[in-house]
């Protein structure tokens, strides 16, 4: 009991609202790399276990100077971009059909549910037989890997559209195609774009896996070679390139969200 008058009411609200503090992420990065460099220089981190960041950077510069960076990077980017854009666009089309048509839903959805959880890497040998050891099998792995998550993102986005908006469109006599173009697709767009975020990172994972089989050029091939020669500095450089690639994709999708979802 409070018997003293004027006792202030204790504050118990607030919290549970994490905010972004500028530059904190950058500082964490810098501190971590500085600590790592320091550890390597003092021998606290053995060069056998982990090369110093400066060595990895030197390996990267060497790669760039020799002109191999462009070769590896362009081979990888080409595979990822072709595989991902085919997988994502076919996935959006299939997802829209599942979202709109009973026949597609009944026919395709069980298939999608059955194939989605299969790691596409397991199918890689099969893709090699079907599409050849060259570009075909690599693109196909990425295509299949991004196809299914995009389908699921798209049709569940459509399923979650406010039905009253569709009813509104019908009540104004809008044509079927107008309802799809102007209500259903924009309504599913947030879900489709967040599906793209997921499928872009899946694409990078599958890229590396696919490039580890019979690829002359590609970041994955470079990492595999570095690993088998115990060139850990090159390996770290390759991993950093992949990480930058992922960040670049995320940035592009973020831009697309800013533009396409300006209404939010």
């Amino acid at each position: 009991m409070v018997d003293r008058i004027n006792a202030p009411v204790k504050f118990r609200g607030g919290g549970f609202a994490p905010k972004k503090i500028r530059f904190t992420g950058l500082i964490v990065f810098a501190v971590l790399i500085a600590f790592w460099e320091f550890g390597s220089r003092t021998g606290f981190i053995s060069a056998l276990v982990l090369p110093a960041p400066s060595e990895a950077f030197a390996a990267f510069m060497e790669l760039a100077r020799s002109g191999m960076l462009v070769k590896h990077l362009s081979a990888s980017l080409q595979r990822v971009l072709i595989g991902w854009s085919l997988g994502a666009s076919l996935g959006v089309l299939a997802g829209i059909s599942i979202g709109l048509f009973s026949l597609a839903r009944s026919g395709l959805l069980p298939l999608v549910s059955a194939l989605f959880p299969v790691p596409k890497i397991a199918l890689l040998p099969l893709f090699v037989i079907w599409f050849g050891i060259g570009e075909g099998s690599k693109v196909a792995t990425i295509l299949f890997g991004t196809f299914f998550p995009t389908i699921i993102a798209t049709y569940s986005g459509i399923d979650n559209i406010d039905r009253s908006l569709i009813r509104m469109g019908q009540s104004f006599g809008m044509s079927w195609i107008s309802i799809v173009r102007k209500i259903i697709i924009p309504g599913a767009m947030p879900a489709i774009l967040s599906g793209f975020r997921i499928s872009a990172s899946i694409a990078i994972i599958l890229l590396v896996a696919a490039e580890m089989i019979g690829a002359e050029y590609g970041i994955g091939a470079y990492i595999l070679l570095a690993g088998s020669l115990m060139q850990t500095d090159q390996l770290i450089a390759g991993v950093a390139i992949l990480s930058l690639m992922g960040l670049a994709f995320a940035w592009v999708i973020g831009r697309a969200e800013k533009i396409l979802l300006a209404w939010r």
């Binding site: 009813r167 209500i183 209404w263």
Partner: protein
């Protein structure tokens, strides 16, 4: 144009929702439909505009359409149903784009309805920037843009707070005074029904039947001048509704 309801009955699965509804609208008349929640008011409105088909009975149209009517039976929904990814202008444009209109004609219509609903300065706002009352004004502007013959309004003010509701009711009264639109106006709010209805159709609890149709002979724009009479109408309707509302309230929810 008039809408005739002829012996409308409707079921969902084995739940009877509406039973033997017959009445007709007249031109320039607002009919308010009032009844306890779940009595089938929204269903009746969906049947009226062709969004659903009655199990038995018919909804018929007669008479001439207003000139340039693009969508004779036009809804105004309780939840506004504005596309969040289109501006105020874009939301109105949406319902015109499927019609054979040039861009100029479309812009003229949009500007016209925006000024009739005093929304001009909000033309480029996003729905998320608007208050509930403003959103419903946009929905009204959108409905006016297709020159409806009968407006089908399903609890258009129910999502709004009491003050906003009073303001929008005034807006509707002045809109009717200027334009003499015809409407079926569903509500569960007695004040709205009495304020806006030329005739008030009182439905029973589910299955909704017509208990009574009450005509109010005082012109809509003059009702403020007859507080005594309006109170009498209100009390008469409340007498009709009270038992139904009580009984409906004590019913178990189906399903």
């Amino acid at each position: 144009m008039r809408l005739h309801f002829e012996k409308i009955s409707h079921q969902y699965d084995d739940v009877e929702v509406l039973s033997d509804i017959s009445f007709a609208t007249s031109e320039g008349e607002i009919i308010t439909i009032i009844g306890p929640s779940g009595c089938g008011k929204s269903t009746l409105l969906r049947l009226a505009g062709g969004l659903e088909i009655a199990r038995s009975g018919k909804v018929l149209q007669s008479g001439k359409l207003p000139q340039g009517s693009l969508n004779p039976l036009t809804y105004i929904f309780q939840d506004f149903a504005l596309l969040p990814w289109r501006t105020v202008r874009g939301n109105i444009s949406l319902v015109l784009e499927d019609h054979r209109l040039s861009k100029t004609q479309r812009d003229e219509i949009i500007d016209d309805v925006l000024s009739r609903t005093s929304l001009g300065e909000f033309a480029n706002a996003w729905p998320r920037q608007l208050s509930g009352g403003m959103k419903q004004r946009v929905a009204i502007a959108r409905a006016l843009s297709v020159t409806p013959a009968v407006m089908l309004m399903d609890e258009p003010l129910s999502a709004l707070d009491a003050q906003t509701r009073a303001i929008l009711m005034d807006d509707l009264v002045s809109l009717w005074t200027r334009e003499k639109f015809s409407a079926l106006y569903v509500t569960h709010n007695l004040d709205e029904a009495v304020r806006l209805g030329h005739r008030i159709v009182v439905l029973s609890r589910r299955p909704g039947r017509i208990r009574e149709i009450v005509s109010i002979d005082i012109s809509i724009d003059e009702r403020d001048n007859y507080p005594l009479e309006m109170t009498q109408y209100r009390n008469q309707l409340w007498e009709l509704m009270r038992d139904e509302a009580l009984a409906a309230d004590r019913e178990l929810v189906h399903g």
